[in-house]
């Protein structure tokens, strides 16, 4: 009997996997002139007649020829996209713990249903407030929960992702500096090399000079380097804790104090908050601002790269810089309302009030856990990580620089430098082979301060058995690097597609970002089919 699953029963530690392979054409290749995907309601004759003059009046603004979109019947369109979905590895399908820093936790299905209730999904943002009390209540109550988790005083839930939240924060710092007339004096922002790239990138957009602090030998932001960086010019300090190494900076209060002593602001990038729910808060660490990713820590799905929600929190003295409108509650009238009253200096950052599908999911997730289980989320996330840490560190060719002998928080950045030295196989090659077993592994943000890096964050969502399966795959691929390196070097073998030529994507003469550009540039060349 040959059964390739039922891992426990058959003592098989990993599965024989193959991704769906549909060899799917580009959608334009499916076009059959005359086919229709959907029909719209036709206007009644009297309505149509009213429009005829307008259409002829358009003159140069009337489109000359219809857009060159494909003509495809409905089921064929659907099938095309279903095939593509099957050629995509969702977190629901795999043990998605190899995308460290991104907190790929389980996003409960009930929350998808709730987020898409017609009463929530089919609501216009300009409706009278009396008809949107439900949406406003969800935003308001989510804010109350985030206040509890952070200890800060008000939250704005408008940003559509963590990077846009960082833009909000940089914009707040800019407004705060400008308002005090300090634009010429406070023109520097300090961040750390392990902070997300959008921290420095957004600070630069708002016109600040960047100073980057590197880690000390133990992997924590270098205290002496920080002291040298901080001055009267410091407008703000943007930092994550724990940083992506998974090492908690125990001296964080001294860092924030140092910045406060020169009159700067401290902003906490809580991308790594999954280690700390109910355990440590932004307030007690001395931060003036923070943000959470609702699509990471609070379970909203990542959607192939958004929409998400970056919730920005501030202390009372900075509330007036939050983008309008906030959502407030009038106890007397028992009414939630859009609050434009705070003398906002930022004015606006995003259309309307925030990504409700993400916020609703975050709210429902917190509501399903409450104070006790939220804390348990972090305790188990950290337990799981230290379990992985222990097992991975015992593997051949792998290490984890910094803070030797210490436990880590919710993730670890490992290094395969030893493996590369011994086998010649790089981490970029290695990760392609992981996928032949249905697993994903990510390296790290750039620059690669940890050489040949990979980052594992198991979250609270995976059982010990699933983590063991992931570990078995990791071990198997490491073994292959030593014993059958050619198999690894030519991976993936079991993906929907094989190795792609990436040089073409860096060459202006050859890159093609749309099918339209491809047709112009190639005229019959490199057509796989």
């Amino acid at each position: 009997m040959s059964i390739e699953y039922g891992l426990k029963d058959f003592d098989k530690k990993y599965r024989s996997y193959h991704q769906a392979r549909w060899d799917e054409p580009i959608i334009f290749q499916l076009s059959q002139p005359g086919e229709r995907g959907i029909l719209l309601p036709e206007a009644e004759p009297e309505v149509a007649a009213a429009g005829s003059r307008i259409i002829s009046d358009l003159g140069p603004m009337a489109r000359k020829s219809p857009p060159n979109l494909p003509e495809i019947s409905q089921m064929r369109v659907l099938k095309h996209y279903l095939h593509l979905s099957q050629e995509n590895l969702g977190a629901d399908e795999t043990v998605d713990i190899g995308q460290g820093t991104c907190t790929m936790k389980y996003s409960p299905k009930i929350n998808d249903r709730l987020a898409n209730l017609p009463d929530l999904a089919d609501v216009h943002p300009r409706q009278d407030e009396s008809t949107v009390q439900g949406s406003l209540e969800i935003i308001y109550k989510t804010e109350q929960m985030l206040k509890a988790v952070s200890g800060l005083d008000r939250f704005c839930l408008q940003a559509g992702g963590g990077s846009q939240a960082l833009l909000v924060i940089a914009t707040i710092v800019r407004a705060w500096v400008d308002e005090q007339g300090l634009a010429d004096k406070k023109d520097e922002i300090i961040t750390t090399i392990f902070s997300h790239p959008s921290n420095p990138a957004c600070a630069a957009i708002k016109g600040f000079k960047l100073i980057t602090v590197y880690p000390d030998e133990e992997g924590r932001p270098d205290f002496e380097a920080m002291k040298a960086a901080v001055s009267d010019r410091t407008a703000a300090f943007l930092v994550t804790n724990p940083e992506d190494l998974g090492i908690y900076n125990s001296r964080i209060r001294e860092f924030t104090q140092m910045v406060h002593d020169v009159g700067g602001l401290c902003s906490y990038d809580q991308a790594n908050a999954n280690a700390l729910l109910g355990i440590a808060r932004a307030r007690e660490s001395g931060f003036d601002l923070c943000f959470f990713n609702i699509h990471k820590t609070f379970s909203a799905p990542h959607g192939c790269g958004g929409p998400g929600c970056g919730a920005v929190g501030v202390r009372e003295n900075l509330v007036k810089y939050l983008p309008a409108p906030l959502v407030s509650y009038d106890e007397e009238k028992d009414r939630y309302f859009l609050d434009y009253e705070s003398p906002s200096k930022i004015s606006r950052i995003k259309d309307f009030y925030g990504v409700l599908p993400a916020i609703t999911r975050g709210y429902a997730w917190m509501k399903a856990l409450g104070p006790h289980w939220l804390r348990e989320v972090s305790r188990v996330a950290v337990l799981n990580n230290n379990y992985m840490f222990k097992k991975i560190m015992a593997m051949r060719g792998v290490g984890a620089p910094y803070a030797s002998g210490e436990f880590r928080m919710e993730q670890v950045r490992y290094s395969m430098q030893k493996l590369k030295d011994e086998t010649g196989i790089s981490v970029s090659e290695f990760i392609n082979r992981m996928f032949d077993y249905g697993m994903h592994l990510w390296t790290s943000h750039e620059p690669w301060l940890v050489p040949e890096p990979f980052t594992v964050e198991p979250t609270e969502s995976y059982s010990k058995a699933e983590m063991d399966e992931y570990l078995a795959v990791l071990e198997q691929v490491l073994k292959e690097c030593y014993e059958t390196p050619e198999v690894v070097k030519h991976a993936p073998h079991k993906s929907a597609v094989h190795h792609t030529d990436h040089d073409i994507l860096e060459d202006p003469k050859r890159w093609a970002i749309t099918w339209r550009a491809y047709r112009k540039k190639y005229k019959g060349y490199f057509e796989p089919r």
Binding site: G37, E44, V47, R63, A203, G306, R379
Partner: protein, 466 residues
């Protein structure tokens, strides 16, 4: 308080499993892992929030009760627009963006996430045909962010620091643009023709010089007006070495000339009309499009997925010009990039593939017909005046003589109608005016219901507030 020993979302909350794992790690308790956190930072209380609703059934009931306090547009007749539109969403769009393979994926490589790369490349390609431009980005947060970035791109391309924007552009959009462009770039407002509500070309000429990086134009405008002088504006801008950046509603492009055809260098806008539900304004995605020239492509901050070939003769995909992005270059990058609106990009691709050229033409025609019919009927009501003389698409401003929009909207609300968006507070020249919006599913009866109600309200005959 918690009668359950484990939580369904936390498999390893089972105590015996935790003990086994601790043994393997060589730790005595989970608390040991947190010793690195100083005691004065540690939070020792329970988080200040209500107790949980642990059962899934209870959670569902709880959230449904909150949701039911909304009154969705499905239960009324809505004429609201102004940057978010109640278009019909084909069932296929919901089906595909609900697929867990797309919904829960994130940042996989082109091999494991081939489907995501292809679907987003196809989204770019379908938008490119609608826009007749060769480069389209993986969507950013929303149309206003797209506009802000398009203008910053124009400033970098021209090495100038001033942009001209129409004073009648979407008021929230203008604030978002101004916020985003501060502090390096000056935003100057150009006047509108008071009758047509189109751009005042004389004022444009007076403000346009060789310090201007870009002229920003909405077409159709926030007020629904179709700007007839796109070609002339492009010539004026180009004559001074400035670029033309046009914000265009993609639902109009089945019938309206795409910006590139009258000289736009960069187009941008929001993809919400393309199969994305409104979600109280939470369903948004920003597109940016340009020509396929290195000087343009190099200035995009967004991901750009390109097509390639694999070693085995399959289509392959990957990121184009990666070093531009903040992922690669931190503060030296072109602006910033991060998790934005990819799922809505995939959704908009499904929408455009489903609609096809005829569907997009029907959509545009159907909307033009309905907005023409509704405006004609409304104009016949005594005391009601259409406030734009230029042709319009989908929405149009309406002025009510001697009645405030908020009063009228209250009366409409009591009849199950959401009246047009009140323009009074943001447009000094459009007092007592509202923006009325149609969609492609409205019937003659729907529109007649509105005009009948408005006739009664304007007469003062009807509309008691219950």
């Amino acid at each position: 308080m918690n009668s359950f020993e484990s939580h369904p979302y936390i498999p390893n909350s089972v105590p015996s499993v935790q003990e086994e794992m601790l043994r393997e790690i060589g730790a005595k308790s989970v608390d040991e892992f947190f010793k690195c956190i100083p005691d004065d930072i540690k939070y020792h209380e329970a988080l200040q929030m209500s107790e949980p609703t642990l059962s899934e059934a209870g959670l569902r009931r709880h959230v449904e009760e909150i949701a039911s306090k909304n009154r969705s547009v499905n239960r009324v007749l809505s004429f609201l627009g102004g940057g978010c539109w109640n278009h019909y969403v084909p069932a296929s769009c919901d089906e595909i963006n609900g697929r867990s393979e797309f919904l829960t994926a994130y940042a996989g490589d082109p091999y494991e996430d081939h489907g995501r790369f292809q679907a987003l490349f196809e989204y770019e390609s379908l938008m490119a045909e609608l826009l007749e431009m060769d480069v389209v980005n993986v969507p950013t947060y929303d149309g206003s962010q797209a506009a802000g970035t398009a203008l910053r791109m124009a400033c970098r391309i021209t090495d100038r620091h001033r942009v001209l924007v129409p004073e009648l552009a979407g008021p929230e959009r203008l604030k978002i643009i101004e916020t985003y462009l501060h502090p390096q770039i000056e935003v100057v407002r150009v006047k509108a023709d008071p009758a047509a509500l189109t751009l005042d070309l004389n004022d444009l000429r007076s403000k346009l010089d060789d310090s201007v990086a870009a002229v920003f134009l909405e077409n159709p405008t926030f007020l629904g007006v179709i700007e007839p002088s796109g070609g002339e504006i492009a010539e004026l801008a180009h004559g001074k070495g400035a670029l033309l950046v046009v914000w265009a509603d993609p639902s109009s492009l089945g019938v309206l000339t795409p910006p590139s055809c009258y000289g736009a260098d960069i187009a941008c806008g929001d993809i919400q009309p393309l199969g994305v539900r409104m979600h109280f304004g939470g369903g948004r995605g920003g597109y940016i499009a340009s020509k396929d020239e290195k000087k343009f492509v190099s200035e995009f901050p967004s991901r750009l997925f390109g097509i390639s070939a694999t070693t085995h003769g399959e289509w392959g995909f990957g990121d184009v010009a990666w070093e531009r992005t903040s992922f690669a270059s931190r503060e030296a990058a072109k602006e910033f990039v991060g998790t934005a609106a990819a799922l809505w990009g995939i959704t908009a691709g499904v929408y455009l593939a489903t609609m096809g050229p005829k569907g997009m033409a029907d959509l545009g025609t159907g909307i033009l017909q309905r907005s023409a019919y509704l405006s004609r009927q409304m104009a016949q009501i005594p005391g009601v005046k259409i406030a734009a003389t230029a042709p319009f698409f989908k929405e149009f401003p309406v002025t009510f003589q001697g009645r405030s929009v908020s009063d009228i909207n209250m009366e409409l609300l009591s009849r199950g109608i959401y009246g047009g968006h009140d323009l009074s507070s943001n447009y000094p020249t459009l007092q007592n005016s509202a923006l009325y919006c149609v969609n492609e599913t409205m019937t003659k009866a729907d529109m007649d219901t509105l005009t009948k109600a408005l006739s009664e309200i304007m007469k003062g005959a009807g509309g008691s507030l219950q």
